[in-house]
Symmetry: C2
Subunit: 772 residues, 2 copies
């Protein structure tokens, strides 16, 4: 079998030897370099820009400002487009804008002959502003008289959506079940950044009247459309190339610098312009994970049955719509799908513009936030009624056969219960839970857990399109072009395996093209929503099946046999019954390519419109040791159990889980973007922003429950994002178990734990003593 | 109509603005540079190579020699491969070889960090040789005891082919028609070089276990196969990319440096190695036009009827087989096809290895050589019997409906007679022919003419494969990928026109991809044999027709109509009867791409195996003024009349004719590679090799006879090579008319004319006087 086996990554050698070419590797020697001039206020208006000093810098070529930029508004998020107006993304972005909506907003660009000259000249651009008070939280931005960031949204409310599932209202439920216990709490998640290794960067140049943009993007075909919208150009005039890419985690599922780079080349006669953001710029001027504040009420019977819940979520959008309301809408949907309420669930989700970095897509897309809130809620409820957390989840998790009432998405396979049971067993949950009760002393241990669900792709909200093309090489190998983008996650490897499996060839015979180019590559929406193995994989499988049929039909003609009596095995056409080799693939391919009599076109292309969806699920178990005096949490053990369908490559699946859990640990304990009182970032660099290093990352244990999902190719379903979801609440719940302290916001930094421990009487208030 | 109209070249803007990227433009900043160490003897053996001094050069990385190179022999010519052994190209080339067969043969390579360091180190490599006497002509190389250049061919005869058409022998004909006039002469053609603007160059690097070669080649898919053969690698491991290319004229229809570059990168861990030849190296170590010597006997009745001919041709192959015997075999075939002999034609063609630069493909592929011989013969016969040259051709040219007895190629359309008549009229042939009789004085005028035929592509000798792929963009434009290579000739423009025509779109809506990449580009054999408009054009037409059908089927579904009732016009789907616009292509494309309900895959791919052929033909008319004392020929007027079927783009067709005639003028008057007595080139640079400049090129008049060929797309047939064929004999015949002097070899340089004019008594032997 080529699938369900751990072949080495197909891009491993190219990447570890430095042969893989990334965007910056492709910048030609005579390129020009662009540097963005960013706003140094958080909310206001640019009144005047003075480039006199900048122009004196040797190598200076051009200064373009917000006053030169087209007035066109365009959307930036990497969503499939919709032909229906109501489903189209919000257009609120200009290439450069005099209206400053966040610290670091783009207001001008310097083009110069060297990166240094560009940076130097950009620093010398003088800007005069009219400054307004910053709007630093959704609740503040919603206050009457806060002042609009975008004229189209006078109250700063980008969007709001509400739904009720069940009968009556939450208040009815409370009134009618007086014996229940009610929880009323607010859970807060912080702003974090993706911190992909390769920074946001694009180069653009022209060929005749066409613009070529080479960019580190997850979504080349979508970027092409967005550039067309931003520059008011028909998109046949635009070509987007995605080379190897060094991570994205959703940040590169947005048009970050591509439209700007595309515009800049048109201003310098089509010369190549390279625009690379620094780490600092990437923090402030690209995208972040939405900070969301969740007001939750939950009603539970003393036997642990969840009766009703009510959610109000405030999502801080930052300055621009980007992925906008989709994120918190996704939070609300998962809040609904994760647990079953006996009576009713009410949900209300608001997305609000704020004067902060723009929230966009980030691994998990709103689910790490809601999973923190929902799983804190679950353990807090358990504590109130004295119930075991795993038992609570087993009792209340959504039943098999669930069909989402709003989207129609069905649990085609659903391994939640199996994951919970397998994890409980493997982790030794029950013993540890008992063993760590009633601890005293400065170091205390605890175990906690959290579960999650996650759908795959965006059906039925948008159209899911994926495509692949396969051609037979003369040596009997095949070229595989997929529109899906390898961004580090291993997509190219699993797509190669699926093509090999469907064709009956060994994986070494499948050569996947790792670069996407909108001029050549079949249309596929790219890397987001953990869709590629599930959706693009199906396109590859079907294209490969089509090529296999063509090869067998061709072989049947050559051999004077019926195609049904033939098969491809061991890189040869064989008799399907006896397995006897009839023609090696190499000989067959040479004949097909070069024979005067028997030449034939053997290629296949397939576009898959995925019109279904399914849920992955799982649970995370963490054991921590909390050093109370030092306010530090040490993760002693962390286990994640996934139901991601059947695994195409178990080793890569485990690697995905390792990376995701590591991201979840950072979310739990270390990472947070900090701002001063005016909204200026305080830690927009990797020294001050505490991204966990390999020294901080625990060993991760992974287990899989391999249910065969009928809708995914070879039974697989989403895996890319899920592992990043449950670690934070699992760790938070383990700290709760160890210390009895329920922290309601992320991260569980030493500073925050100190405040909580003092409040809980676990330690003296040293700060007060020092102050005194 | 998109076809039969002179739209501007689609690549014009990119090329004149410098936006078009050529191979050298793509070399990355950290590339290594290779320099070949060439032999400084003409025939012999490398005994020892000493790199001690070379290694001292700062920046030196590696020296590899013929002693390190694999022993594998591979073929270099850009022919379609054959699955039949007998039709496969001769393998006689190693990457580096200790057996030196020509001055400048490749014996070692230096790799260094800069081009200068590589060049300096290469000069410091010391080589010891064992030297053999050079073989400077085919007749010498065939002498017993000459010594074999290749062990497989002890007599240096690479190949020989003979045929007879008609009854009996030439000797029988002479014996049986005693009243006839017989011509017995030898016509000689010289060695010339292509002199393409962009030099031979390739860069190669690795991605994992695959080798990527970016090269200035006419034939990327063929190069891929050759590299596989040279490196003994399955060709799925090889990727060849063809960027924009600055001319080739057939030289880049050979593997010149690609296999070597591919091998070099494997020796430096896959780092990019750039290998560019200088102009001097391009002259000596790439390919040249074969110098062929033709012994001709011809028998003609006094009424001008050609009775019988006998041809013996000796082709100087140079050191390696390359395109080898195909060239002179093609000469012999055209000698047969150009005229009809009443009784018999005997032909015998020999290709002989010599110690001279290797003969390869060059615009016309053996036909400029034979056309010089055949058309000199025709005028020399006319002079013997006092017949008008045009009348002679009208009487003896091959009749319509001709079917080649060996290949089965048919004149599907044949405009030779029309070209002769149209040219005679437009040129004022009869008046001038009379007016320039019996001149005296130092400057004399004359008119001459020559005709030609040329087939298209290589059917039925090899399999002709061409392919194209079209995809609909969301803006209603299409991407067109053709495997055919734009090398300056305008292929991309005419393919764009044909796709637009077949689709019913305006040409601005067709975006052709000018770069070929064997990983993406449908398999097409590339640019040679004037095949692309005729063969690749058909692939484009059929792929476009298939896409058109898909679009109309899709539109029919959307509109609830029958597809047959719809058409595409004015970039919209219209009612076929009324012409009423029903849906713009843009709206239709957006719907097809993004509609939740109606999304569809709209692309088409087609591989065309051309199993037919047809002949282009035409005639050239030249008027010269010969300055006898200065021995200089001035072309006062030159007209070429082509039957190339219906023209897809008349202006580009005229431009092709201009370029070809200019090349023919150089062949006639100026160009010749000169060698010293040891076979060392004397003029391997553009200062000493007299390529005509724009100052030397006459204004060219072009006329076309547009017969609609049933086998070509939109009625077209070969045009790329033909214009280079007839100018040399037309000019030679004009000099004959002006002076009475029949020069039997090319070029008609002042030195040669001086010798002839002295011999003919037209001028004093100044040289003798000076000597005395």
């Amino acid at each position: 079998m080529s699938v369900h086996s751990s072949i080495p990554r197909v891009d491993a050698v190219a990447k570890v030897t430095g042969q893989a070419k990334y965007t910056a590797d492709l910048v030609p020697p005579n390129a020009l370099y662009a540097k963005i001039v960013h706003a140094t206020i958080t909310n206001g208006l640019v009144k005047r820009i003075d480039g006199a000093q900048a122009q004196q810098v040797p190598g200076f070529v051009k200064l373009v400002t917000c006053f030169d930029a087209p007035k066109t508004l365009f959307p930036t998020p990497g969503h499939p487009w919709s032909v229906e107006k109501a489903h189209q993304d919000v257009c609120d972005r200009r290439l450069l804008d005099e209206r400053v909506r966040l610290y670091g907003d783009n207001i001008a660009v310097v083009i110069a002959r060297t990166p240094l000259a560009a940076a130097k000249a950009a620093r010398l651009v003088r800007v005069e502003y009219e400054e307004y008070p910053p709007l630093l939280s959704p609740r503040q931005a919603l206050l009457p008289g806060a002042g609009a960031l975008h004229a189209q949204k006078p109250d700063n409310l980008l969007a709001r959506s509400s739904f009720t599932v069940g009968e009556g209202t939450y208040a009815d439920a409370v009134a009618s079940e007086p014996d229940c216990v009610e929880l009323v709490r607010t859970y807060d998640t912080q702003t974090v950044q993706h911190c992909h290794l390769e920074l946001a960067q694009s180069m653009a140049y022209m060929e005749g009247d066409r613009i070529v943009v080479v960019s580190s993007t997850q979504i080349p075909h979508i970027i092409r459309r967005i550039i067309g919208q931003a520059l008011s150009l028909p998109l046949g005039k635009i070509r987007v190339v995605k080379p190897y890419i060094g991570g994205g985690f959703g940040n590169k599922q947005d048009a970050l610098v591509e439209p700007l780079a595309a515009w800049l080349t048109t201003l310098v006669g089509g010369r190549c312009v390279f625009l690379e953001l620094t780490r600092e710029e990437t923090f402030t001027a690209t995208r972040v994970r939405h900070a969301i504040s969740f007001d939750i009420r939950a009603l539970v019977r003393r036997d642990g049955t969840l009766v009703a819940r009510k959610l109000t979520a405030y999502s801080s959008q930052g300055g621009y719509a980007s992925h906008g309301h989709s994120i918190v809408a996704n939070s609300a949907a998962v809040f609904k799908q994760l647990y079953h309420d006996q009576r009713v669930l009410e949900a209300d989700a608001l997305t609000v513009y704020t004067s902060l970095p723009t929230g966009g897509a980030m691994r998990g897309y709103g689910i790490p936030q809601i999973d923190f809130a929902a799983e804190c809620m679950a353990d807090d409820l358990c504590r109130m009624i004295g119930m075991d957390p795993v038992d609570f989840r087993l009792r209340n998790c959504t039943p098999e056969g669930y069909v989402d009432p709003h989207t129609g998405i069905t649990f085609h396979s659903y391994g939640m219960r199996e994951c919970l049971l397998k994890g409980r067993e493997a982790f030794g949950w029950d013993e540890k839970r008992r063993a760590f009760q009633h601890q005293t002393g400065p170091k205390r241990r605890g175990v906690g857990m959290a579960n999650f669900i996650y759908k795959t792709g965006v059906h039925p909200i948008s159209l899911e399109t994926a495509a692949a093309r396969l051609t037979l090489n003369q040596d009997g190998s095949v070229m595989l072009q997929s529109g899906a983008t390898e961004i580090g996650q291993g997509a190219d490897t699993v797509l190669t395996q699926m093509a090999a499996e469907a064709l009956g060839l060994s994986p070494e015979r499948v050569h996947i093209v790792s670069t996407q180019d909108t001029d050549f590559t079949p249309f596929d929406l790219g890397a987001y929503a953990s869709r590629q193995t599930y959706i693009s994989g199906m396109a590859v499988k079907r294209a490969a099946e089509a090529l296999r049929r063509r090869i067998l039909d061709y072989a049947a003609g050559l051999l004077g046999r019926e195609a049904q009596s033939l098969d491809i095995r061991g890189d040869a056409v064989v008799d399907a019954s006896s397995g006897e080799t009839l023609r090696s693939m190499t000989d067959l391919a040479m004949e097909a390519q070069y024979s005067l009599q028997n030449a034939a076109h053997l290629s296949a292309e397939y576009t898959y419109h995925c019109k279904d969806n399914t849920f992955s699920s799982g649970a995370c178990f963490a054991q921590v040791e909390v050093d109370i005096p030092l306010c530090k949490v040490k993760i002693e053990r962390i286990l994640i159990v996934h139901d991601s369908g059947r695994l195409i490559n178990p080793q890569l699946a485990a690697a995905q889980a390792h990376g995701g859990v590591s991201m979840g640990v950072g979310y739990a304990l270390y990472e947070e973007m900090l701002f001063d009182g005016k909204g200026k970032p305080l830690n927009d660099n990797l020294l001050d922003y505490k991204l966990p290093t390999s020294m901080d990352s625990p060993d991760v244990e992974t287990l899989f429950v391999e249910l065969d999902d009928p809708t995914g190719p070879y039974g697989n379903k989403a895996l890319g994002e899920p592992p990043a979801i449950p670690p934070a609440p699992a760790i938070r719940n383990a700290v709760l178990h160890a210390t009895g302290v329920a922290v309601d916001s992320l991260p569980l930094s030493p500073q925050k734990l100190y405040e909580h421990f003092v409040k809980a009487g676990l330690m003296r208030d040293i700060a007060k003593e020092v102050d005194a």
